[in-house]
């Protein structure tokens, strides 16, 4: 559960694509052990915020501070090394590799074998290889796709692919796990499984930043929620309160409907 210690703090994040202001002056913080939700209508800038956070885009303004150190000008692989792992909205697994290999690749950043190590296969490399494989099996088991370990990632069912992506991200030993719509395309049973998985990950010590459109999941699992609309933060707070916020309702349902709602009480 939330410990009150700040893990990630963002101040004044801005990002512009040509004439579109994708993010303007977005500030928030995530506490250690929290599940922090990020919601908003399509095109609100949620994924852009993820991409700026994980170094895929460069921010035009603002700073991130992660675990006490700034994340300025870091490449994506350096950010992964610092302890932020992510999944992608449109699943990006290594499609032609097996599920097991996908997770093994996630161990890359926490292992050290060089070309010489790989060629001579000394005892240390061998031990490391064994450790990589063992951990990969553990993680497949953890997310519940252990039976598909040797199948190509692209042949997994949609829900399994989503969970495999989480296993791959967990293999990098993240402090913060950033999930981009993990429940998209899942049925009710799968979403319920996912909810249990998220709670278990948090229980095991990893903080979660969650983009999600499934409001039931967000309201059930998130401690706090931030709402983005047109690149601006319009609300933040405990899920139940945010849900009732007028600006949030307006952003989701459109201005006119809101007037209408007010009219009819």
């Amino acid at each position: 559960m939330a410990t009150g210690q700040t893990l990630l703090a963002a101040t004044g994040i801005a990002k512009r694509f040509g004439g579109v202001q994708a993010l303007s002056d977005v500030s928030f913080h995530i506490e250690q052990g929290e599940i922090y939700g990020l919601i908003g209508p399509n095109g609100a800038g949620k994924t852009s915020l993820f991409n700026v956070l994980t170094g895929i885009y460069e921010a035009d303004g603002g700073t991130f501070t992660f675990a006490g150190a700034p994340l300025a000008n870091l490449k994506p692989h350096q950010i992964a090394e610092r302890g932020i792992a992510r999944t992608f909205q449109n699943i990006r697994l290594f499609a032609n590799l097996s599920a097991l290999e996908n997770v093994m690749i996630g161990r890359h950043v926490r292992t050290h074998a060089t070309v010489l190590g790989a060629v001579f296969r000394g005892p240390r490399t061998l031990a490391e290889e064994k450790g990589i494989e063992r951990r990969a099996y553990e993680l497949l088991d953890y997310v519940g796709v252990q039976k598909r370990a040797n199948d190509l990632a692209k042949h997994l069912a949609y829900g399994d692919q989503r969970r495999l992506e989480i296993a791959r991200a967990l293999a990098t030993e993240p402090k913060l796990l950033a999930l981009d719509e993990p429940a998209a395309g899942m049925n009710a049973t799968e979403t319920a499984d996912l909810r249990r998985l998220l709670e278990r990950i948090r229980h095991d010590g990893t903080t979660i930043l969650l983009i999600e459109h499934d409001m039931k999941l967000v309201m059930n699992v998130c401690d706090r929620v931030m709402v983005l609309d047109y690149g601006k933060k319009i609300a933040e707070g405990p899920a139940a309160l945010v849900q009732k916020d007028e600006k949030v309702v307006a952003a989701y349902l459109g201005g006119e409907v809101t007037l209408n709602l007010k009219g009819t009480g």
């Binding site: 895929i56 692989h77 697994l93 690749i105 950043v109 074998a113 790989a118 040797n150 199948d151």
Partner: protein, 360 residues
């Protein structure tokens, strides 16, 4: 995890290794019985195996399409030629030059890799193609104002391999067997080939090999998983290039003469065809592809003419024309019936199998 050959038990594996080793040991004498030319052809085929294995790292593992690979072969060949010929009157021993050739080629690999880090697919192919041509044109023209490469005339009288008074160019009789120059080179080449095959297999099943495959599959995801894609791509270019450099040095010594003519674009395409035909990403497939594509044109060279004479009593069509026609036809058929190569990589085979049995 990814056994390239189906070796169910260690006993079968051991027997296979012994049989292959014996066959490789006896082969040059059997070939010498048909004609010494065949030993030379075999040596060139092994050089192409080495080249294909090098290119396989870049194209098969890391997924970076390189159409100028022969440039590294050229660099290795010229490094050897310049350091072991009367041209500069330098005569360094081969075991000094081969590593130098590998390092210089490796530097050229990084030189090509650095500006192309952000390119993929077609764009990368065009830049690498240009790079290959630039190297060849340089070799062709670096005879003025200072004569470095001797231009289109090439470099002659290149030293053969020599250890003390033991020269790879002379024939020697030992235990009743005649070891001709090409046969000595053959054994040396086989040893290098076995080492490089082992190196490739180990690289593939390692943290480095997996990182290359991740880049081939999805570069953005690879970066997000903490893989330094810049370094890994440069490493692939550098390793591929150094294999090419070593092969080039040996080519120089075996031929005794090199010129820019040996390093034209068609050669790059030829090596790429070996990699693709054999089965991209599968080390043994690539070896098989290189052997087949090296031998088929030679076998046709010696058979097309005589067969015409037997059938029609005279030469109806120019053997050279028919040879290339048959060769091209065979390639087209191959790609139609085995698009993933003769020995598809384990991954592609798995893919085909699971396509046949649809899964929920």
């Amino acid at each position: 995890m990814r056994a390239p050959l189906d070796m169910k038990s260690p006993a079968i594996a051991r027997i296979t290794i012994v049989v292959v080793a014996l066959a490789l040991a006896v082969l040059p004498f059997a070939l010498a019985g048909i004609g010494t030319a065949w030993v030379r052809i075999t040596n060139l085929a092994i050089l192409f195996v080495l080249l294909s294995l090098g290119l396989n790292i870049v194209v098969g593992f890391a997924g970076l399409l390189d159409l100028g690979y022969i440039a590294f072969y050229a660099v290795g060949a010229y490094v050897y030629a310049l350091l072991a010929s009367p041209h500069f009157n330098l005569h360094l021993p081969f075991w000094v030059i081969l590593p130098i050739g590998a390092i210089v080629a490796c530097m050229f690999g990084v030189l090509l890799g650095t500006p192309t880090l952000k390119l993929r697919g077609d764009y990368l192919a065009i830049v690498t193609l240009g790079f290959g041509e630039i190297i060849r044109i340089f070799l062709n023209n670096l005879s003025q104002p200072v004569n470095i490469t001797n231009g289109p005339q090439g470099i002659t009288l290149i030293d053969p391999f020599r250890i003390g008074s033991f020269s790879f160019a002379q024939s020697e009789t030992f235990a009743g067997l005649t070891f001709s120059g090409p046969i000595k080179y053959y054994y040396f080449l086989v040893i290098v080939m076995v080492l490089i095959i082992g190196l490739n297999l180990r690289l593939q099943n390692s943290r480095i090999g997996r990182a290359w495959e991740a880049i081939r599959e999805d570069e953005i995801a690879a970066r997000a998983m903490g893989i330094n894609t810049r370094n890994m791509k440069l490493l692939a270019f550098a390793m591929g290039a150094s294999f090419g450099g070593v092969a080039g040095g040996m080519f120089s010594a075996i031929q005794g003469f090199i010129s820019p003519e040996s390093f034209v674009l068609v050669e790059s395409i030829n090596v790429l065809a070996m990699v693709v035909l054999g089965g991209m990403g599968n080390v043994f497939g690539v070896v098989l592809g290189a052997i087949l594509l090296s031998f088929t044109p030679e076998v046709l060279r010696y058979t097309v003419g005589p067969i015409q004479h037997q059938l029609f009593g005279r030469t109806l069509l120019d053997p050279e024309v028919i040879r290339m026609l048959l060769f091209g036809f065979a390639l087209v058929l191959m790609m139609l019936f085995r698009p993933a190569g003769i020995l598809p990589s384990a991954l592609r085979k798995r893919e085909l199998e699971s396509n046949r049995v649809p899964q929920a």
